[in-house]
């Protein structure tokens, strides 16, 4: 398993320095959406084969939230960005 993550602030770091929160959730449903939609949003998670976007916290380094792509087959990580860039990225 590839255990090195390239933090955009700190460089190449071992996986042990990070805390993993989980997938980057889809946008929140509207407040009035039906129960099934909310249940799906809150509890149901995909278990994709291949590329997967996740929140990671660099707890042992810069303490920034990062978003990275992880391939669930190979565990290769790529596209590591600071989570604050998501705001400017738009709706995702």
């Amino acid at each position: 398993m590839s255990s090195l993550v390239k933090c955009p602030h700190c460089g190449l770091r071992p996986r042990e320095e990070f805390t993993i929160r989980g997938e980057v959730a889809a946008p929140r449903p509207s407040a009035g959406a039906d129960e099934a939609t909310w249940f799906d949003h809150v509890y149901l998670r995909d278990n994709p084969r291949g590329e997967h976007r996740e929140y990671w916290h660099h707890a042992g380094g810069c303490r920034r939230w990062l978003v990275l792509s992880r391939n669930t087959l190979t565990h290769e990580t790529s596209d590591v960005v600071d989570a604050s860039t998501l705001k400017t990225e738009g709706a995702r």
Binding site: C10, G11, E16, G60, G61, C62, R64
Partner: protein
């Protein structure tokens, strides 16, 4: 007065046989200050340095960044509470300064084997090409979060939270034990 956590810690005995070339040494840095500077999202180190030179030229501008828009401002002088208040009042609006002198301890690990000792605890690449003199980085030594700064070819300064200082000290002693022989 706060009790200094490393007060009664056993330092490396002076190793006369090894002479000045003793391969490893660890020493606390008791004097001086550690200020935590937090900047807003648009702040940068150049602006901060300029401001600090103007406000407190006597304290130097040794800045070490643990995270974007954050710095530890470190120096050897003792800063009184009133002087600190003056600096806090004069620092530009985009920065906030908090005293961490008693919250974080500094120690220095030096000697020919210092890199090998540190490499046992951290996965940061400490080779001179990757980690030059003056560079610092926030990482973990074992399970303890610490900031490592290279101050010379074979000298590293560590900044660690006060409550972890004695544990880190003891761990470094263990890690260095094999290099203590002349």
């Amino acid at each position: 007065m706060h009790e200094y956590p490393l007060e009664n810690r056993f330092a490396f005995p002076s190793n006369d046989a090894a002479g000045a070339g003793a391969s490893i040494n660890l020493a606390p840095i008791r004097d001086g200050f550690v200020f935590h500077v937090l900047g807003d999202a648009n702040s940068n180190e150049v602006d901060l340095k300029q401001a600090l030179v103007k406000i407190a030229p006597e304290l130097g501008t040794d800045l070490r960044s643990p995270s974007p828009n954050q710095w530890f401002w470190v120096g050897g002088a003792d800063v009184s509470d009133s002087r600190l208040a003056e600096i806090q009042a004069e620092i530009p609006e985009q920065f906030v300064l908090a005293d961490q002198t008693h919250g974080r301890l500094r120690m220095v690990l030096f000697g020919a084997s210092s890199r090998s000792v540190l490499a046992k605890g951290t996965m940061v690449d400490l080779s001179p090409e990757m980690f030059a003199i003056g560079q610092s980085t926030m990482t973990q030594i074992g399970h303890i979060g610490a900031m490592i700064t290279r101050t010379a070819d074979d000298s590293f300064e560590l900044i660690v939270l006060r409550s972890f200082a004695s544990t880190l000290w003891d761990e470094l002693q263990h890690m260095a034990a094999e290099f203590r022989h002349p």
